[in-house]
């Protein structure tokens, strides 16, 4: 197992290198020049050139990438061309809000979606199944920002229960912290709940048709026990897989959600950086996102061994 983990961790290195090269290449060919934005409309060409040189943007592709990659390997992701702040510092500053949002979204999604999937499967073809699956279609179809605005309008503006926007760290009080995450997490979890619930339902349907379930029923085991103990345990693998795959959806959803709810997280950081062509920040955040994705999927693979003792690495 340890050998497997080390191998997988080592495999992240070429993955990250390819991601870094790909992103760097895209940004290199993309139109736009941060020097033009920094200098403003009244800058002379000489000033623009000086700014470009001071930022190292006048260098050819290979030396620029090589220098960035060498520094990145040593943990130096460079500095923002606009704020002159170290990128690693900016990322560290933005991780807690995004992580909080994603964890709460995951919790809400799992707590809601798994029972929904199980109950829908248990009532296959019935009105509960149809209701839940229709809701799942709605969850897939409604864009995160629409759900976000609706939630903010109802719970923040009309009812006044929760704040409209912002983020407070847990050190400022648990409620202060949670109250600003509830609406964004609910908005973001809509699609995720739909995804997990559908997979949970299909996995449960497959398990419920197995012989051992029929035997359990014949023995008079309670319905809830059959569903949540015998069947669900054997249906967890596809559910756990989809949770891992869905992290990518969560990351992209966080970009929108953080903008709608004014959360200073990584999603907003990368959007702002893209709009300004703040190359070091874009590269740094994309690296963090891709590393997170690789790690989450490693964790999911490891979780398989706990859920199914037959799986060995």
């Amino acid at each position: 197992m340890t050998g497997y983990i080390l191998r997988r961790l080592l495999m992240t290195v070429p993955v990250m290198a390819v991601v870094a090269l790909f992103v760097f290449s895209l940004l290199y060919v993309a139109p736009g020049d941060p020097a033009a934005i920094i200098a403003g409309e009244q800058a002379t060409p000489a000033e623009m050139q000086r700014i470009r040189a001071s930022l190292g943007l006048d260098q050819p592709f290979v030396p620029r990438f090589a220098r960035w990659a060498w520094n990145a390997v040593q943990g130096d992701l460079g500095v923002s061309v606009f704020s002159a702040t170290p990128v690693s510092e900016m990322i560290v500053q933005r991780i807690p809000p995004t992580l909080s949002l994603m964890v709460l979204t995951l919790l809400i999604s799992i707590v809601v979606a798994v029972p929904v999937g199980v109950v829908a499967a248990a009532n296959q073809g019935g009105w509960i199944d149809r209701l839940f699956m229709s809701a799942a279609v709605l969850g897939f179809s409604l864009p995160v920002f629409v759900v976000g605005y609706l939630l903010a309008y109802l719970f923040a503006l009309q009812l006044g229960w929760l704040p409209v926007q912002g983020y407070r760290p847990p050190s400022g009080g648990v409620w202060e912290y949670l109250s600003r995450l509830i609406l964004p997490a609910l908005a973001l979890s809509g699609g995720y709940i739909a995804l997990i619930a559908r997979i949970a339902r299909s996995a449960m349907l497959e398990v419920l048709s197995q012989d051992y379930i029929r035997t359990a029923r014949a023995k008079g085991v309670a319905r809830q026990v059959i569903l949540f103990v015998h069947a669900l345990r054997n249906a967890t693998l596809p559910i756990v897989s989809i949770i891992g795959i869905g992290v990518a959806t969560l990351i992209s959803g966080a970009v929108v959600t953080e903008t709608v709810f004014g959360i200073p997280g990584l999603g907003r950081l990368v959007v702002d950086a893209l709009l300004r062509r703040d190359y070091p920040v874009i590269q740094g955040v994309v690296l963090v996102f891709s590393f997170t994705y690789v790690l989450v999927n490693l964790a999911i693979d490891l979780a398989y061994t706990l859920l199914d003792p037959r799986i060995r690495y």
Binding site: E41, R50, T85, A156, V164, Q165, S179, F261, R268, L275
Partner: protein, 527 residues
């Protein structure tokens, strides 16, 4: 569902809705002001960019030697006074006693010298001052001497102006930084101190009242007078989404949203707890800018022909709506509230597109492709561009309207290449009205070719008249020169004015003492 189950579920739902408000009270701390700026404060160096959000930040943190009032007249600010000798060629400025920087060091004349030298390399109006300076020195800690090549009566106005960059005074150790390199420490001597440790780039910037600031006597008037800070702490929250900002203002989570979008202002106006009003009465001017280096707009007759197709109100309504209180048409090349404004040569009558078509043909337009650059990132630019594009198409221009993100547009505007190599032909934009009060700081009017703003017009007559304006002996002479500039501008067309519009600001009704002009935080308090 059973009856009992239904009833208990409904009761629980009702109870949930009847819960008291558990949201923390909005911007409740009376000593704290929460402000949403027009854009993210990306660049902190006061001369690092011409972005207005940076200028607004600079006005909090830095002080200036002089400050203009709301009539654009300069008054002493950091200086106690000045004497002018040697027929106007020697200015001796004496600093007020007790001035200190936020790092606790005193403001000395050598700090002023270094700050002005750095700023003068970037600022267009400052450049005019630097061009006449023979020697700038600090003979003592409180005295700054300007030895000039020729008299320059505009010195206080240049050093006290508010746009696009201010002549911010900073410690010499920072001011010695190369002008194109950003300073890494924000230390000024203004009424508010920047708290770098609390900065979250792209999200939050925090300022604290500077206890060591000694305001001048008298009431504050725009950038002049007594800058008294009432709030202990000011937080700038960047909220990129307009709907979120509007909701936060309504919920009382923020106190002031600098630039509400025109589609949301009616909603905010309907809220008794919110005031929506125009604070900056100098507004913004729409401009249609041609690329003078490329065909077909290297031909002044072709540029001039488009005046006949412009109805400024069309552009202004598109930009800010039907409310006439929010715009003024009939704009010439100078701000209508400036003493330099005149009606000279302003075209009268309604647009005549058939005539424009004839004039274009007569001027030699042969159907060359015209690339109009626009951006959807700034709705005003996009909407004005759509109106302009419609007019261009109606008069038979072979138009290629390209709407791109601002990062792409802003870099493409710097390209002097032909359109088949990524260049451009024409674009619509807006500029602060305050910059159009006179020819000195009027960047769109500058016509010094390669050194001019993008579009790069070369119109020697305008440049000569601008130089004459600096030397004009009195207001009447200045006005006469500006009238001439306007006539030349209508003939040569460095750009086409598209009208003046006003940007309202929205704030909680309990704020009082808000000054006219750009967002200023001194004098402001909670009722």
């Amino acid at each position: 569902m059973h009856r009992r189950q239904f009833l208990s579920t409904t009761a629980a739902a009702m109870g949930l809705f009847a819960m008291p408000a558990i949201r923390p009270a909005g911007a409740a701390d009376r000593r704290v002001l929460k402000f949403v700026p027009q854009a993210d404060l990306a660049v902190l160096d006061p001369i690092g960019t011409t972005a207005y959000v940076t200028r607004n930040h600079a006005l909090m943190v830095f002080d200036t030697l002089y400050g203009v009032d709301d009539k654009n007249q300069p008054h002493p600010q950091m200086v106690e006074g000045h004497v002018v000798e040697n027929d106007g060629k020697l200015w001796r400025l004496t600093l007020r006693p007790g001035l200190q920087f936020h790092d606790g060091t005193p403001v000395l004349a050598r700090d002023v010298v270094a700050s002005i030298n750095r700023w003068g390399k970037r600022d267009i109006y400052g450049g005019a001052l630097m061009a006449v300076i023979d020697d700038l020195s600090a003979p003592s800690d409180r005295v700054v001497e300007f030895r000039l090549k020729k008299p320059f009566a505009h010195l206080p106005a240049v050093l006290g102006k508010g746009a696009p960059t201010i002549a911010a005074i900073m410690p010499e150790r920072l001011a010695k930084t190369e002008a194109t390199t950003q300073i890494t420490e924000i230390v000024g001597s203004g009424p508010y101190r920047f708290l770098a440790k609390e900065r979250n780039p792209g999200a939050l910037n925090v300022y604290e009242k500077f206890a060591g600031y000694v305001p001048r006597d008298g009431a504050a008037n725009y950038l002049s007078g007594g800058k008294v800070a009432h709030f202990e702490r000011i937080e700038w929250h960047t909220l990129p989404d307009a709907s979120t900002a509007a909701a936060a203002l309504q919920a009382g989570e923020i106190d002031w949203w600098e630039q509400p979008t025109s589609d949301l202002t009616p909603l905010l106006r309907g809220n008794a707890d919110i005031r929506v009003q125009v604070q900056d009465t100098t507004g913004f001017a729409g401009v249609m800018r041609f690329n003078h280096l490329q065909k077909p707009f290297d031909n002044p007759a072709i540029r001039r022909a488009f005046f006949g197709g412009i109805l400024q109100s069309d552009y202004l309504i598109a930009a800010v709506g039907e409310d006439k209180a929010l715009w003024r048409d009939g704009l010439g090349f100078f701000h209508p509230d400036s003493p330099m404004a005149s009606k000279a040569a302003i075209p009268a009558g309604k647009p005549d597109l058939a005539r424009v078509k004839q004039d274009l043909a007569a001027a030699g337009y042969k159907g060359e492709r015209v690339v109009m650059l626009a951006t959807a990132d700034f709705p005003v630019i996009n909407l004005m561009s759509q109106i302009a594009a419609d007019m261009f198409q109606k008069v038979g221009v072979n138009l290629d309207l390209q709407v791109q993100d601002w990062a792409t547009v802003s870099s493409r505007l710097q390209s002097r290449e032909p359109i088949d190599k990524g260049g451009w032909s024409v674009t619509c934009n807006f500029a602060a009205g305050i910059g159009m009060f006179n020819p000195a700081a009027h960047s769109y009017l500058r016509s010094n070719g390669e050194k001019a703003l993008f579009g790069w017009p070369t119109i020697p007559a305008i440049e000569q008249l601008r130089n004459d304006w600096f030397d004009a002996p009195d207001l009447a002479a200045q006005q006469k020169i500006c009238e001439e500039i306007q006539k030349v501008a209508y003939a040569e067309t460095p750009y086409i004015p598209l009208g003046l519009y006003y940007q309202p600001t929205a704030f909680r009704a309990d704020l009082t003492g808000m000054l006219k002009g750009t967002p200023l935080f001194y004098g402001l308090r909670r009722a």
